[in-house]
Amino acid sequence: MTVEILGGENYITAVLCGELDHHTAAAAREIIDARLERGTPALCIIDMAGISFMDSSGIGLILGRKRVAEGYGGRVMIKNPSRCAEKVIKLSGLQSMVLTEKQEKSMKKEQKK
């Protein structure tokens, strides 16, 4: 799996690509946490469009980052989960963390300002 962090000071996007399981979650956790702890961005978006496999370890990763961000007053949201990621997210009851189209649009407007 690859993890790429995009974005600036106020919010970052962690783009995850590939298979997210217990083995690969460890590296993703380290990379994302390093950025959260260094920059304390108000919003961390986890982009899951490129996830080709996910099990409950992915839920652990999301909830873990949520805990870290909330520790300094930040938030975590999920963007564009792939079909397999969405299925596990739904089962876990975390749908409210998935950005809606409306939310994404208003965020883009914010950025342009």
């Binding site: 298979e19 079909r83 596990v88």
Partner: protein, 145 residues
């Protein structure tokens, strides 16, 4: 029901084998042309059981994971994943959604819930100090009949 094919494998309980084992099971299942959705469900359920053996069963050291696959005439895939790890004290409690004994390891307590939701039957047998075995059944739709 008559068994038409079977496979037995053992793996060292290493986290890198989580991907290896679910790929092996998917390859075995491919002979009956499952849908993409079915393959995806099988891969997730297998990954949960294998991860549990590694993270919980063998939390105190190395061990082996045994995987037994069976395909029956009525297009059912039986997947048994067993370890000789620490075992589970209260299986019923362990299977409750959100129950975990390893929150510090960022476990969500959802593994059994995924196995249950993504397969057609789940049986868990465990004995403290002896190990755990999980048997899952997945009916593969016959698309060409």
């Amino acid at each position: 029901m008559k068994t038409i094919n079977s496979l037995k494998m053992t793996f060292p309980a290493l986290s890198r084998n989580e991907a290896v084992i679910r790929s092996c099971v998917a390859a075995f299942a491919a002979q009956v042309d499952p849908t993409i959705e079915e393959i995806s469900d099988i891969r997730s359920a297998v990954s949960e059981a294998v991860t549990n053996s590694i993270v919980h069963g063998y939390k105190d050291g190395a061990g082996e994971i045994a995987v037994t696959l069976k395909l029956t005439e009525d297009n059912c895939l039986y997947i048994k994943i067993s370890d000789k790890g620490c075992g589970i004290e209260d299986v019923e409690k362990a299977m409750e959604p959100l129950f975990t004994t390893a929150p510090e390891g960022e476990r969500a307590g959802l593994g059994f819930a995924v196995m249950e939701a993504f397969t057609d039957d789940l049986k868990v047998r465990s004995a403290v100090g002896k190990g755990t075995s999980v048997t899952m059944k997945k009916k593969i739709s016959s698309r060409y009949e």
